[in-house]
Symmetry: C2
Subunit: 284 residues, 2 copies
């Protein structure tokens, strides 16, 4: 595995890989890699000849009050894990290599970026689509792998790729979970033992929602109320949102009619830590 920090060197490397007729797969991450990231890297090795993993904690997607400075970082461990999972090139640029002091250009996907996470975190997705567009232009991939954990992000990147004609195949990989069901996240390290214990409610409430739908419930409000009740059965949970939305345009759905594909998603605080989780349900 080769580590690269310069944009120009990464672009030259990508050009030279492409000139050999090889396929490039990219896995963009903010580092502090966990089993979820490693599954993305392994998926990339199955769809490309050369895998580039990028690690960049993108300041543009954090609001001033958010956890940018305290976001966990461990480059040595990340390097080892990324290599073991099959990374050929690890791209780790510095902040000033990615954003000049005179950065003025942003990529924005309207409508999809303004609900759910985007409503709670204004500017977040503008930061995401901008940095992903940059990383695509730097790593020149044939295929890019993102996780379903960030469902709205995955949807926005699919929309951006279509709208801006990025010639890139997207692979959205399933959520990887801890044995008790908690979705893998770099932010899970923030949880103290009691918060960690209660955080299992996120996946449990999604399972309950799925079960209600399988058993015939079609009224979203009833499902959301049951989910809310379950989440609030433990003292530490503070809910940002419980959403049941159309899985392509993210409009909230009132009645789950036959043929609908719904994204059920949650954002819940446990102490200072904000966790998200989701599941996609196809109504038969």
């Amino acid at each position: 595995m080769t580590t690269i920090s310069s944009v120009l060197e990464m672009q030259r490397t990508a050009d030279s890989v492409r000139l050999q007729g090889k396929r490039i797969g990219v896995v963009p991450t903010m580092g502090y890699l966990h089993a979820g990231h490693l599954s993305l890297i392994r998926i990339a090795t199955q769809h490309a000849d050369v895998v580039i993993t990028t690690i960049f904690v993108n300041p543009l997607q954090f609001a001033p009050h958010e956890d940018f400075t305290r976001y966990p970082r461990d480059i040595e461990r990340d390097s080892r894990l990324a290599e073991e999972a099959g990374t050929d090139y690890l791209f780790i640029p510095e902040q000033n290599e990615m954003y000049s002091s005179n950065h003025l250009t942003y990529v924005q996907t309207e409508s999809l970026a303004e609900v759910l996470e985007g409503k709670i975190r204004p500017g977040h997705f503008r930061g995401v689509t901008t940095v992903v567009a940059k990383l695509f232009n730097i790593t020149k991939p044939h295929v890019a792998v993102f996780g379903q954990k960030d469902a709205q992000q995955a949807l926005l990147i699919q929309q951006m790729v279509r709208d801006l004609n990025f010639n890139i195949e997207l692979n959205i990989a399933p959520i990887v979970r801890e044995p008790d069901g908690l979705a893998m996240s770099s932010r899970n390290v923030y949880l103290n033992p009691e918060e960690r214990k209660q955080s299992v409610l996120l996946s449990q409430s999604l399972l309950m929602a799925e079960k209600m739908i399988v058993e015939g419930e079609r009224n979203s409000q009833i499902i959301k109320e049951a989910v809310t009740k379950l989440l609030y059965s433990q003292p530490l949970a503070v809910i940002d949102y419980v959403s049941i939305a159309d899985a392509s345009m993210l409009h909230e759905i009132e009645f789950l009619s036959s043929g609908t594909t719904a994204l059920i998603s949650l954002a819940v605080h446990f102490g200072k830590t904000r966790l998200i989780d989701n599941t996609i349900v196809r109504i038969s």
Copy 2:
């Protein structure tokens, strides 16, 4: 010359040219080609092995009241001229090939897009940067050639290329003029004989401004007033703006101090036709 209308076919063609180790040059245009465009194509042939000329009248950069529907079009003549100038591939997509009914993603370069043309034409440059980003992803060029006639556009595209890490060399080509000095523009065909005659004032007023600076004038206001007076010496001119700005950030300059590079730019209506022109002056 091969004509292509499909995005996918253009991307595959670009990939195949790149795999042969050849350099691609692109000249994005809105068609109705004139000597200015043809000079851009000839410059592209000098910097690339394969030249792609694109013709697309981009609805996104026109405001509702502007001349999108009446913008002049002549694909047969354009094809002949583009080929004669050295185009290898002519990319002419339909509207619905470029914008889906669910297009949501925009590229925006702040600050630079909000003055001069951007102030008079809100949304114009968002349309320009968005379509140029798309055309870059479709034609995958090593080098792109734009005209200095659209000075602010050239500056915005340079900024976008830097900010989003497009791995593309930009070549900004000098303005080509009619024998009497009028800058070449597809919109010149709109002018009636009297308007055409008076439109020579644009280039003449820029020459006068340059002469005043050479002769020692450093107060922008005095120069702008002289330009305004000259433009209004003919009855048909209606001025949108006369600007003397810093040539990199487009801040208006009051005093032309030594070492400054200034963009002197004008937008003037003659009847229903809006013309622009500019010159860059380095203060020694």
